[in-house]
Amino acid sequence: MRFAIEKEIFIKGLARIQGIVEKKNTIPILANVLIEAVDGEIQLTATDLEVGMKASYPATVSSPGKITVSAKKLYEIIKELPEQEIDFNAKENCWIEIRCGKAYFNIVGLSAEEFPYFPHFQKEQFVSVDGTLLKEMIDKTFFSISTDESKYNLNGIYFRPVEKDGQQLLRLVATDGHRLSLIQKPLDVSHIEQLSKGVIFPRKGIFELKKMAEDNDGELLIGFFDNNAVIQKNQTVVVMRLIDGEFPDYNRVIPQNNDLTVIIPRDSFLHALRRMSILSSEKSKGVKIEIKENLLEMSSSNPEFGDAREDIEVEYQGEEISVGFNARYLIDILNAQNEEKICLSLRDKLSPGLITPCENQEYLAVIMPMRL
């Protein structure tokens, strides 16, 4: 196999698959990228058996074929090459020669035979989604995904269609058991059978999906095969195995009767929280919030350093209430918003709090208080 490719194109393709290759090194070939040279393009494939990606890039192919090689090492080499055309030549014995300018590399590859099979897909089975829309929906939920591996059913974002006032919506929900984010946008996906009961996209796949949505605007194609989701955009295909588990009954934990509602300017709240969190305890990030008439007071204390307090003007007429929250959780939510004002609704110091943009019914976040 032999092809010539512009460095700039090759490095972009190799950078893209670095996040996919298996890092734990349990199956050696999964640390490799599969390179296939076909007519006028090369295809780069990587997989960790949970999430796989295949993308094609223009190249001058003089002899078609395929080879695999350490994705990380190849990336390191190509990154340091001069900005010129690269000559990539894989020989019968799986050794690979790379020439660029006056640089010459002779590296060992591995036969493509053992690389896992990457399925082909028919375009007709896909539904088209606006990339910008999907990116916003992911941005406003993904921070709530659990990082606790033992809670595997929370290690992703839950997707499902819902109907509201006759309108078809796509809803995304993520939770780590302490907080929950939910967003829904008008998008008719009710006809996708696999989606009807809801599916959980894995965290790693979500990150790839987000990158694809961010990479230029335009449409993404999403489809489902067996227990996999397939996402296609231009010349890139990502396949991810959906999480095989039941998403918890999240509707039960969304507060319905939180009568103490305070309207808070988002920007001042966010900056004050960042300051307060510096002195909250390293692990729990607890910040105390006291709400009085038109005033919200925040304070934090750290037995080793000292304490801090700050207040901001808010709109509030209810009874005085004091509650503790993990500052990180609040900051994550506020960071993902762009509204000028947000509403925080509470019931008491132990029940979940509800945060919504004041002017918008599409988004909500629930966070559990902490006992300080």
Partner: protein, 402 residues
């Protein structure tokens, strides 16, 4: 400044606790330890020491030396109770306490004179309080540093109180060299070959000569021979982890036995965590195979755990990532680290009712154990003689009858 250090050491601690609990054993030789084939003497009363018995001696040999001795099993939980009470007495006099074990500690009482009197008086007060409140006797050594204080507590044991004079020469010089800290059998032999027997003999050697013979240990010997020791009393720092491990009588391979052993460990770790009001976010499992090779597996969990069943669940999952079951297992251990105190607790969205009920159950069990001892309430599958296949129908109230 001259420091005032007290070393306190309970006399024949385990055996004394047994004599306390069974008054008919008082004045009789008592051995604490396992009676079975491989058992050794963990502790023995002073009456037993007269027969030449000492701790770590095989039980069979001890019983040949003194067939009339009463043998009692080790009851660690009971000793801990006494230990806690004794340490609570120490804490009335100073917060600078360095525990060495359950029955031994250094106290730094420098600067406490105005409050409690001279160091020797403080030591006497502690001895009296320990005797009065726990019925145990404790030996005390008072000196200007830890090295001398420890020598002193041993000087008039049992029930001793010795104050090392200043300068300490009259006390120190006649002592045999093996009493010095850091002088083991090997060093002792080398010193004897040089014709040295007592601290006074050692005094004759220069620092350079000692350094030449024993490197840095030589410099330490030089200082110890002069009764010098600058080590501070190190107050026990906060715990980093809480764990238990068990070496089995026979290697385990049966999954049910492994499960049962993990349950037992999880139960003990959880009880200790709750006793200290802590919960841990990292669960570590340790597995030692029959060939002594050892592996550990760990997982970070959220929220932090303090309940046996949830710890067990994680431990079982970790066990699947080892060869336990395929290879025979000699030792299992569970420990929790990244401990945090319960007072700053992040609330949970899901499964709150179930968790609340579990923790109420744990609390009730803890209270029962406080009243009736560790075996007052037990899981049915951990009862002695419980069959692995299924929990026995009778005895479901969890009593083992002992």
């Amino acid at each position: 400044m001259i420091r005032s250090i007290i070393h306190l050491d309970l006399d024949a601690f385990y055996a004394s606790v047994e004599q306390h609990d069974e008054p008919q054993l008082r004045g009789r030789p008592v051995l604490v330890g396992g009676r079975s084939g491989r058992g050794v003497v963990c502790a023995c009363s002073y009456e037993a020491r007269r027969y030449g018995i000492h701790s770590a001696m095989p039980m069979a040999k001890a019983l040949r030396l003194c067939p009339a001795a009463a043998v009692r099993p080790v009851r660690m939980e009971r000793y801990r109770q006494f230990s806690r009470r004794v340490f609570a007495i120490f804490a009335r006099f100073t917060d600078r306490i360095e525990p060495l074990s359950l029955d031994e500690a250094f106290l730094d009482v420098s600067g406490c004179e105005r409050l409690f009197g001279k160091p020797a008086e403080i030591a006497a007060q502690i001895k009296a309080a320990v005797r009065q409140e726990t019925g145990l006797t404790i030996s005390a050594g008072v000196a200007a540093n830890k090295f001398l204080a420890k020598l002193a507590s041993d000087h008039e044991k049992p029930d001793g109180l010795y104050v090392v004079p200043h300068p300490p020469d009259n006390f120190l010089l006649p002592l045999p060299l093996k009493r010095l800290w850091g002088v083991g059998p090997v060093t002792c032999q080398r010193l004897e070959k040089l014709g040295l027997r007592t601290v006074a003999d050692l005094r004759q050697l220069s620092e350079a000569r000692l350094a030449q013979l024993f490197d840095s240990a030589g410099r330490q010997l030089y200082r110890l021979a002069r009764g010098e020791d600058q080590r501070p009393v190190v107050v026990a720092s906060a715990r980093h982890s809480i764990g238990h491990e068990d070496t089995f009588d026979h290697d385990l391979q049966n999954p049910l036995e492994l499960h049962r052993s993990l349950l037992d460990l999880a139960e003990r770790v959880a009880t200790r965590l709750r006793g200290k009001g802590l919960a841990g976010s990292v669960v570590q499992l340790k597995v030692r195979y029959a060939d002594f090779s050892t592996v550990t597996r760990r997982r970070t969990v959220d929220p932090p755990l303090d309940s046996a069943m949830t710890i067990l669940q994680v431990a079982e999952e970790l066990l699947l990532r080892t060869d336990a079951g395929q290879r025979p297992v000699r030792l299992l251990g569970i420990s929790l680290s990244q401990l945090q105190e319960g007072h700053e607790v992040q609330g949970e969205l899901f499964g709150v009712e179930k968790r609340d009920r579990l923790s109420a159950l744990d609390g009730a069990v803890d209270q029962l154990r406080q009243r009736y001892g560790a075996k007052g309430v037990q899981r049915a599958s951990l009862m002695t003689g419980a069959r692995f296949e299924s929990a026995p129908k009778t005895g479901g109230d969890g009593r083992d009858g002992s």
